[in-house]
């Protein structure tokens, strides 16, 4: 690794010193294309975030792709019903790597006010890995921007080799996530234990 101070000095002389990892992560984090996909009222805030007042384009996320094949980021913006959950997992499976998930709002992270309902999933992280959770009902556009910046920091810090490298650089990592089947009363299975080991609550 190049020393930071040396790098700045070299920069003053017109010499750019960098690493492949830095360049690669800079490219990835600066052009995250979210999927054009909204689920409930949080989607309205997501739309507001992309518009002129909040302007998500400043962070390189101006292109909302209407196809999962061209998207890097899935924003789960709203309540995930049990009827919709298999479709959400299917969409996630269709996205190419590298792909990221932001669970936006109380419903997406836990079921929110509808948690005890007969038809609402208690958080999308039961089926697919979530990178950033944003609380709020709905979260403000600033909160979504903050989550987006956090995601960029996370991408920036990802090493390309060794432990902690992203899933798409790990040949053994699982890329496809099982789609739950609608059962008689609930989705089967009720959660993917590989993605979501039941958290231990300390009482």
């Amino acid at each position: 690794m190049v020393d930071e101070k040396l790098k700045i000095e070299l920069g003053k002389q017109g010499i750019l010193a960098t690493t492949i990892q830095e360049l690669y992560n800079w490219g990835r984090r600066s052009s995250i294309w979210p999927m054009n996909f909204g689920l409930a009222c949080c989607a309205i805030e997501m739309i507001a975030t992309t518009m002129a007042r909040y302007d998500m384009a400043r962070f390189g996320a101006e292109v909302f792709r209407p196809s999962p094949r061209q998207a890097d980021l899935l924003i789960i913006s709203g309540t995930v019903t049990k009827k919709m959950a298999p479709q959400v997992v299917r969409l996630y499976n269709q996205m190419p790597e590298p792909r990221y998930v932001i669970a936006m709002g109380a419903c997406a992270i836990s079921g929110g006010p509808f948690k005890q309902g007969y038809n609402v999933l208690k958080g999308i992280d039961r089926y697919i890995p979530v990178d950033i959770h944003i609380p709020g009902c709905p979260p403000r556009p600033e909160a979504l921007l903050s989550a987006f910046i956090e995601l960029q920091k996370k991408i920036d810090a990802q090493p390309l080799t060794g432990e902690g490298r992203p899933r798409f650089l790990d040949a053994e990592a699982q890329g496809e996530f099982p789609v739950p089947e609608p059962g008689e009363h609930d989705l089967e299975p009720a959660s993917n234990k590989g993605v979501w080991p039941v958290p231990v609550v300390i009482r």
Binding site: K82, K83, Q116, Y118, N119, K122, P182, G183, E184, H185, D186, A190, S191, V198, P199, V201
Partner: protein, 226 residues
């Protein structure tokens, strides 16, 4: 706007055996409703829509109500002969005793329709219909042929309450998926035991979560014993 009594009189005049009952609403709104006999509901509905004075051309809302079986305890005075021994002589006398009797009042499913008239700018007129019971005789005539806007709402009632509408053009589940069992808006619906992770449980959820934890612990115990 005619009062419910006037509407009932008009219906009875047009359809002699309609069997419409007024269901009073004791609240300040006083929005009384008319309970129809399901056998004549189609005829009554056609009358309400077609009558020149009522012209109820718009069905704004259809909803369901679940009335579960309920146990009624009532005190009944019972007279029975009692044999007493007074001064060594056996006497039979009548005695009145108060007894508490319990009986189960059978439940039913109810459908409520709210009608308005766009033409006459009045409404609502509230119609009700009841099924015979909650288990096997749950058919009611569909009012979709008369008011088209009932179609999706009757599907929703079918989905969530389990009322089967005869004469409905496309009676399928609308909110829950195909293959779902039971009807979630019924009072006795028990949702699946998915209480693995309840970090902030309280009230009814806390009870369910504790039951789930106890069952899980018991299962683990038997598993360890084997």
């Amino acid at each position: 706007m005619m009062t419910v009594e006037e509407i009932k009189t008009a219906i009875d005049a047009a359809i002699p055996d309609a069997g419409v009952v007024i269901v009073p609403n004791p609240s300040p709104s006083g929005q009384h409703s008319l309970r129809l006999d399901p056998r004549h509901a189609i005829k009554v509905a056609k009358f309400l829509r077609g009558d020149a004075e009522l012209a109820l051309d718009f069905l704004s809302n259809a909803t369901g109500v679940d009335w579960p079986d309920r146990e009624v305890a009532e005190k009944v005075k019972v007279t029975r002969p009692v044999t007493k021994t007074v001064d060594g002589v056996e006497q039979t006398a009548e005695e009145t005793v108060e007894e508490t009797r319990k009986r189960v009042e059978p439940g039913c499913l109810e459908v409520v329709y709210h009608l308005f008239s766009v033409e006459k700018k009045h409404g609502p007129v509230v119609l009700r219909m009841r099924t015979v019971n909650r288990t096997d005789q749950v058919e009611l005539p569909s009012l979709t042929p008369i008011w088209r806007s009932a179609e999706f709402q009757e599907r929703e009632i079918f989905d969530l309450f389990g009322v089967v509408f005869t004469g409905h053009p496309d009676l399928r589940r609308i909110l829950m998926w195909e293959g779902f069992k039971d009807h979630p808006m019924r009072r006795d619906y028990v949702d699946p035991d998915d209480f693995d992770y309840e970090p902030t449980a309280h009230d009814a959820v806390l009870v369910r979560a504790q039951e789930h934890r106890a069952a899980a612990a018991a299962e683990e115990g038997t598993g360890a014993a084997q």
